[in-house]
Amino acid sequence: MELSLVPLLLEAAVRAGTPILLVALGELLAERAGILNLGVEGMMLVGALTGFIVSQQSGEPWIGVLAAAMAGVMLSCVHAFLSISLHANQVGSGLALTIFGTGLSGLLGKSFVGVPAKGFAPIAVPWLADVPLLGRMFFQHDPLVYVAYLLVPGLWVLLYRTRPGLKVRAVGEQPRSADALGISVVVVRYSCVLAGGSAAGLGGAYLSLAYTQMWVDNMTAGRGWIALAMVIFGGWNPVRTALGAYLFGGVQALQLRLQAIGVTVPTYLLMMTPYAFTILALIIASASRARGHVGTPTALGRAYIRGE
């Protein structure tokens, strides 16, 4: 019985890892440009609520998803303005955003608790879903999972194979040099932060429209913070971040499934592993300097002030 559970486990890993991945990809982009956004948890919550409300009112979940992304953009505007234009402390601004977003979603969501809405149902990708074993694992999911699938290579290509991606990386590593070359640090950073906000909104909408179809106060349960960790775990590389997110989802799915078949699991120790692995991964990456750059954007977390 155990062996046949493995494909189901991987399927669950994808399902559980997707909200984290969506948020992490957005945060990755922002951090690559040098802006740390600790407000992802708040943006995710607002995105979850917005997506839920709009989907419930309009009856169409995709409109809800769009609204969720826009809500994420709007919230991230605050952080962007504070950290980029006003050179405010990014950590403080992000934390304030999380507090505010938690409050905003809690307040506006009061009348939507206990109300069902139409969400997403799993869609099988034609032809791919029929592939034995792999089909069930990867291609019979909610549509937002497929969006995440596309975003991973998309972001990779953007960052490493396009001019805008080059600009992003330059701004995150050496904003002064980028500025001297005529790249607008401000425009690049704003774009990345707002894009990150939309991804956070998407991640939230996945929770309230796909994973479950409901709204409950504070329903993200810390997934935004986990996404932050996954960006680092993945070394600011979209593919490795995806691996990290799915791995995290997998660990969680595994411990639930082990319980289901009656195996005792030391939960808290198990839950520590992703974070411990992250630190380990960082040490290994740092220690092997020969392989090149660790990946931490050099200018991450520091305000860029022209002329200093």
């Binding site: 019985m1 669950a12 608790v113 149902a121 994973y211 409950v216 106060d217 319980q259 009656g262």
Partner: protein, 356 residues
């Protein structure tokens, strides 16, 4: 002239003072919740009780403070409620116990009600409902409806109350079909809809065709219906999330208790007691049955419920064995409440462990 003025002033004064003296002051009742009212679960159910109190007793004014962590903050909030004129204060989580005891000592004129605790004072009473009785009834339904003889149970945090309610459910299942296995998965959170949904998935993956939950959100029931399984909810009616396959939910109905307690306080007849109200009082019960529950099953449940109310039978009357086969409650034994309150073992037919 002066005489008329004096008369007017005196008339005015007496009418004003008379009016002030005549109006009964609204009784202020304060509630503190450990979670947000928007959890559609434990705190939500208490808040429904608070609203019932407000509508039933119009001259009662209620206040609520939500998401109060059980720790340093709780003492402050309880004290602030006591200092701002609340005459009855309700704390709805076990973890508030010692804190409330401390505050109750400082405010002997205020009545304190602590849910699910076991420490009391002259001005502090404890109350709870025998949810395990309602849970047993839901087990009867689940045990009848399962065809694959495998039921999944999503449990939040391993405290004795949760274990007890889980056991009651399983006993109900065993009463109709001792061959059924109930697989228990712990989410280690009071509410986290996504994880609860995943827990339900993990149970459905191993072939469960009924999913019952004790966590705060209806996510497992919703997930169950999406995958064609039946669902049994908890804390609040989950039927809106699974209109076709929802069987029933074990729900709280705190309103009548709050109304009764406040009336007693107002009448001056309230005494500190340890109340563990049984199902007959209506404090726990079942939500309306779902469309698939047939009349014969409804009748069975109703019959057992009447048995419980009349005292002809109770859930944990022996013989009851634990998972390892050891006899924990002997035949004919009717365990005392202490034993139930400290329950930390699973009954037979449970697959899953109590984390130590």
């Amino acid at each position: 002239m002066a005489k008329w003025l004096a008369v007017m002033v005196i008339t005015l004064l007496t009418s004003v003072l008379g009016a002030a003296g005549g109006t009964p002051e609204a009784l202020k009742v304060g509630f503190i919740y450990v979670g947000p009212v928007g959890d559609y679960g434990w705190s939500y159910a208490h808040d429904q009780g608070r609203k019932y109190l407000e509508t039933t007793l119009p001259d009662v004014q209620t206040t609520y403070v939500e998401s109060v962590p059980e720790g340093a903050d709780a003492e402050r909030v309880l004290t602030q409620l006591a200092r701002s004129g609340h005459k009855v204060i309700v704390a709805t989580s076990y973890g508030y116990m010692d804190t409330m005891l401390k505050v109750a000592e400082r405010f002997p004129d205020v009545v304190f009600l602590h849910c699910s605790g076991h420490k009391r004072r002259a001005n502090m009473g404890t109350y709870f409902g025998r949810m395990y009785q309602a849970s047993y009834l839901t087990g009867l339904v689940a045990g009848t409806m399962t065809q694959k003889k495998r039921i999944g149970y999503v449990a939040p945090i391993p405290i004795p109350e949760v274990i007890r309610i889980t056991n009651a459910f399983v006993l109900g299942v065993r009463a109709v079909n001792p061959e059924v296995n109930v697989h228990v998965v712990w989410t280690n959170a009071w509410y986290d809809p996504a994880t609860e949904s995943e827990a339900a998935n993990s149970l459905l993956d191993i072939g469960a065709d009924v999913i019952a939950t004790q966590s705060d959100s209806p996510a497992p029931v919703q997930t169950a219906e999406r995958r064609g399984a039946y669902g049994v909810g908890f804390n609040a009616d989950a039927s809106k999330f699974a209109p076709e396959k929802h069987l029933t939910s074990a729900i709280w109905n705190w309103g009548p208790y709050y109304a009764a307690a406040v009336k007693q306080v107002r009448a001056g007849t309230w005494k500190s007691t340890d109340e563990w109200w049984p199902i007959g009082t209506g404090i726990v019960g079942l939500s309306p049955f779902g469309p698939v529950v047939v009349d014969t099953l409804k009748n069975l449940v109703e019959q057992r419920k009447q048995d419980l109310i009349a005292g002809r039978f109770d859930v944990f009357w022996g013989p009851i064995k634990d998972q390892s086969g050891k006899l924990r409650i002997a035949a004919g034994e009717k365990p005392a409440d202490e034993m139930l309150l400290g329950m930390n073992w699973f009954v037979e037919s449970v697959v899953g462990t109590v984390p130590k």
